[in-house]
């Protein structure tokens, strides 16, 4: 799949193969974010923590950088491919959808 991503641009790949998106999600290539009431956000399929402060948590994903802004943020349940951000979440910046996946 990574080889296919290198050969075909992302937009063209999605237009040409709509089923690829589902396959990527199933394979864990797409980041998944679940927000619960503005107090807790669970992020799966991230590839690393770029920044961690009480006001901002930035995570690297295959699609780009995902940023969570808020106050009194802390990380809980840090597992190899998932973590939970708790605190007063004010905003979430998602990576641009047409951006190339970052390994």
């Amino acid at each position: 799949m990574r080889m296919a991503a290198r050969k075909v641009p992302g937009r063209a790949r999605h237009v040409a193969f709509p089923a690829m998106e589902w396959l990527e999600e199933a394979a864990g290539a797409l980041p998944r974010l679940m927000l619960a009431g503005g107090r807790r956000a669970m992020i799966e399929n991230h590839t690393g923590i770029l920044e961690f402060t009480p006001s901002c948590v930035r995570l690297m994903t295959r699609q780009g950088v995902l940023a969570i802004h808020g106050t009194a943020l802390l990380l809980t349940q840090i597992r190899p491919d998932a973590l939970t951000v708790r605190g007063e979440i004010q905003s979430i910046e998602l990576p641009p959808s047409d951006k190339e996946a970052v390994p």
Binding site: G48, F52, L74, I78, R79
Partner: protein, 385 residues
């Protein structure tokens, strides 16, 4: 679930440490920044070990600040082996002792205590007995069989207490010879209300006043028109009976009051002598007060004894009649209730008051009862007397 080990990281770029740890499969339950240069990490015991290894490898300032839960308990036990050992011994002893009966309580209603005690001894029921494999039902059945005179035995285990509840056998009904002729007679005076004849012939009718000993049901029946043969009379005669109680109380009481007349006499007294100083005649009705005034000091027991005679007169004061009536009616009713036969039912009660000689009042309490007054002379069927 929060990790039992808390680590403190001091420095910048905690993100890298977390990523490294995450990459090695360490699960961190909490990461919280206290300040830009200090982060608290909470993880499991094995995770903490891996993070400390990483910190040592990359020369990071990471320290264990708090250990909770099982790791802490293990460390404490390792440090205090004697305490752990004694706790284990204590728990073992507690388990062993809690399986025994340290209190055997017996509640016996009716029946003889001696037979139950004998049965308990034969079944090995005693303080300190092993209760780990106790079958309470089987033990109760064995106790009942051994005792012989019990109608119920219940055994229950309540912690280290063994409770044995036993009830004695009911008394068997009176045995009488149905062939032996007998009459049923009145055991008390009363007015007959109801007669039930099972065998024999009724000798009284409802409404009759009967005296104690009077025949109520004759033990006879007609064999033929001319021949009458004796039978054992059976039945009951319910009658109204009365029991009474009395109490007496005076309506006035004597009060002694001083008249104001006072006489005083005094004498010099010492060890073995009395020397009168002044004298006074005593009153017919008086109250005396004696006082001693020492004159010889502490070491010479000599002093003046002074006796004051106060004249009294007697006055008759009427008492509160309502209070007196209340008091004597309670006494009279109490006396009447004591005379009530156990098998009777009270249907009415009242109290009469009357003045008697000496200015006294008398209360007479009457309780009307209903009971079976039929009894045989040999008391086979009688319920009273």
């Amino acid at each position: 679930m929060r990790g039992p080990v808390e680590l403190r990281f001091r420095g910048l770029m905690v993100e890298k440490l977390i990523d490294r740890a995450r990459g090695e499969g360490v699960e961190i339950d909490l990461a919280q920044k206290n300040s830009p240069r200090e982060t608290i990490l909470r993880t499991s015991e094995s995770g903490a070990r891996r993070i400390l290894e990483l910190a040592e490898k990359y020369k990071l300032d990471v320290k264990v600040t708090r250990v909770r839960g099982l790791p802490r308990l293990k460390a404490t036990l390792r440090q205090r082996l004697a305490m752990a050992l004694s706790a284990a011994i204590f728990l073992g002893a507690l388990m062993m002792l809690s399986g025994r009966a340290w209190l055997v309580e017996v509640r016996l209603t009716g029946g003889e205590a001696a037979s139950l005690e004998r049965a308990m001894r034969s079944e090995g029921v005693h303080v300190g007995m092993d209760m780990t494999s106790l079958d309470a039902y089987a033990l109760s059945q064995r106790l009942m069989a051994d005792a012989g005179d019990l109608s119920y035995v219940g055994v229950s285990r309540q912690g280290v207490r063994l409770l044995i509840e036993a009830v004695g056998e009911d008394e068997p009904p009176a045995i009488y010879d149905p062939e032996a002729a007998r009459d049923l007679r009145a055991t008390r005076d009363g007015v007959v209300e109801q007669i039930t004849v099972l065998a024999g012939v009724a000798a009284v009718r409802p409404g009759d006043t009967v005296r104690k000993g009077q025949t109520l049901i004759r033990g006879e029946e007609k064999a033929t028109d001319e021949v009458t043969r004796g039978v054992c009379a059976l039945g009951s005669v319910v009658a109204r009976i009365w029991v009474t109680g009395e109490a007496v109380s005076p309506l006035e009481r004597e009060v002694r009051e001083p008249t104001g007349q006072v006489r005083t006499e005094s004498a010099l007294t010492g060890p073995g002598f009395i020397y009168p100083l002044t004298s006074a005649e005593p009153f017919e009705l008086e109250k005396t007060d004696e006082s001693f005034l020492p004159v010889g000091g502490l070491f010479l027991p000599v002093g003046v004894t002074r006796v004051t005679h106060t004249e009294l007169k007697t006055r008759i004061v009427p008492m509160d009649e309502a209070a007196i009536k209340r008091e004597i009616s309670e006494k009279a009713l109490g006396e009447a209730y004591q005379k009530q036969p156990p098998s009777s039912t009270a249907i009415d009660k009242w109290v009469d008051y009357s003045m008697i000689e000496g200015g006294k009042i008398r209360a007479r309490a009457v309780i009307e009862l209903r009971m079976n007054i039929a009894g045989s002379t040999d008391s086979a069927l009688s319920e009273d007397e």
